[in-house]
């Protein structure tokens, strides 16, 4: 952004000039907020500064592509905590400030400098800086009307463009793309989804789930093109999007091109601090970066795989609300000098039209699947097995299946694959 923002403060008073905050959390994100809250719950007494580059109070992102986009919830519903909460818990919020450099000392203290010129001395530093959308590389990608959907301003921009829009092209058939496509279709837009790969949500679910969503979304009226390659975003003559031309020569009309093709972890501050970087900022099991003092949490952190029974030494970077929360708790313990294991089984959700997908566990490395279908009730579940044991499940409109698998995984148990295919049998009764 080239528009200079003026930082503003909310919550508790900042420390007096020249006095360091106890913990400077860069990134007023789900993980940044949870870190501050968990520290207070654990009895951390130092002042906390929670700093973000957006001009909003800390808010929840999941609804941006769904209820918020469709005006089903207002912006107040997205706010994490009241201002009184921050004041009572001695947490200062800094909005609209981007940290451009950090000078750190070996004891973990240092001074961060914002683009506003303000300096923020700290005793300890936490990076909860998340990730940014991967940008589309195609001629015309810079046109007005090409939008991304990561933060509140993106959603507000989309809502601003929506009334004058009849046709939308969504680039990317992942969670964000399909959620937004479903929302925009519900808002009366003609929506086409372009997926570059050979199936939907290829990075997060198996082929059966991809096929299920392809069929169901098409039934509900979404035009989904698999293996679609964009040649150019078309200019309507006014530096504004008019459509999209594909490599096969076909053209689609669009006033909005919404791009959801993944994210890139924001590792720049970590690099400047000399931290080890490898698909994110590398952290140990206590959320500590390679300098041994900087805490790194959430989407940006490359951590040891926390799933019970995961191969030793395996690393993972998880982009999810659940991970932001659980990882922040681990980090809070770590800052308090305690070593606590990551709690629970990673889980994810995605609501698309009337389909509620819940994923328990990580299906990476699965060897076989069992499918449960109950078309009359719109339920569909895929169970993933490795070495004969269950490792994950994708459950659509089937919360009982989701919760049974989560429970089995948390208890280190499995679910008998021979009997699991019958939708009339409760999975919970098969846990052993």
């Amino acid at each position: 952004m080239d528009t200079a923002t003026v930082p503003s403060r909310a919550g508790a008073d900042a420390p007096e000039a020249g006095t360091a905050t106890g913990l400077l959390i860069i990134g007023a994100s789900q993980s940044g907020v949870q870190l501050a809250i968990s520290l207070r719950a654990l009895g951390y007494t130092e002042h906390i500064t929670l700093l973000g580059d957006e001009d909003h109070r800390p808010y929840q992102r999941p609804a941006l592509s769904k209820e918020f986009l469709q005006d089903k919830v207002g912006s107040e519903s997205l706010i994490f905590r009241t201002n009184d909460y921050w004041i009572e818990h001695n947490i200062t919020l800094i909005k609209g400030e981007r940290i451009e450099s950090v000078d750190s000392n070996t004891d973990g203290s240092g001074i961060a400098r914002g683009t506003s010129g303000t300096t923020y001395p700290y005793q300890r530093l936490a990076l909860t800086v998340g990730a940014r959308p991967r940008h589309l590389e195609a001629p015309g990608a810079e046109l007005d009307g090409v939008v991304y959907l990561r933060n509140a301003d993106d959603a507000l921009r989309l809502k601003e463009l929506a009334p004058a829009t009849t046709d939308v092209v969504v680039v990317g058939g992942g969670f964000i793309g399909l959620e937004a496509a479903s929302s925009l279709a519900a808002m009366g837009k003609r929506v086409t989804v372009l997926e570059y790969g050979q199936r939907l949500v290829g990075r997060a679910v198996g082929t059966e789930t991809s096929e299920y969503f392809l069929t169901e979304h098409r039934k509900r009226g979404l035009d989904i093109r698999i293996g679609a390659r964009i040649e150019q975003i078309l200019d309507d003559g006014d530096r504004t999007v008019g459509g999209v031309r594909l490599e096969d020569g076909s053209e689609l009309t669009a006033q909005i091109v919404l791009v959801g093709i993944g994210v890139i972890p924001n590792t720049e501050l970590g690099e400047a601090l000399g931290l080890e970087i490898n698909n994110g900022i590398v952290v140990d099991a206590g959320a500590l970066a390679s300098d041994g003092t900087t805490i790194v949490v959430g989407d940006v952190a490359n951590m040891p795989n926390p799933v019970p029974g995961a191969p030793a030494g395996e690393r993972i970077r998880l982009e999810s609300v659940n991970n932001a929360i659980e990882h922040a708790k681990v980090a809070a313990y770590s800052l308090m000098g305690r070593s606590e294991e990551y709690a629970g089984i990673p889980w994810f959700w995605s609501n698309q039209a009337d389909m509620k997908l819940q994923i328990a566990g990580l299906s990476t490395g699965f060897e076989s699947t069992v499918i449960r279908r109950d078309p009359d009730k719109g339920k569909f579940t895929v169970l993933y097995y490795r070495g004969g044991r269950i490792i994950a499940a994708d459950a659509v409109n089937a919360p009982l299946d989701f919760m049974a698998v989560k429970q089995a995984l948390a208890a280190g148990k499995s679910i008998d694959p021979e009997r699991a295919a019958d939708p009339a049998t409760m999975l919970k009764s098969l846990i052993a």
Binding site: N322, P399, K406
Partner: protein, 106 residues
């Protein structure tokens, strides 16, 4: 203005003046009632905003939907007849509600 009384598993009560139209979950979370976790932010996906509603207040609530009913089988503390997911309870003007929070949500 609606009012919600949250009583925790140990018996301590916190009273919060809420906004009409907000859910009980939002009211709790925004004001720092830690016994309500609400990981999913109210999208009926996580079952971590479980509450027990006072019997006398139950008739004032809209009946629960099928999804909420199923999700309630996955709560950390077992459901009872007066169990609800607090993200699904919207507060009406001047409504007064008494809920008890379970010992744990996860």
């Amino acid at each position: 203005m609606p009012t919600v009384h949250f009583t925790d598993a140990a018996g301590a009560t916190t009273t919060i003046n809420a906004n009409t139209g907000d859910s009980v979950m939002e009211t709790a979370v925004r004001n720092g009632v830690t016994a309500i976790v609400a990981e999913c932010g109210g999208s009926l996906s996580c079952a971590t905003c479980h509450v027990f509603v006072a019997e006398t207040d139950l008739p004032s609530l809209e009946p629960m939907g099928e999804m909420e009913d199923e999700m309630l089988y996955g709560t950390a503390v077992d459901r009872e007849d007066n169990s609800r997911l607090s993200c699904q309870i919207r507060l009406c003007e001047d409504q007064e509600l008494h809920v008890t929070t379970p010992e744990t949500q996860v």
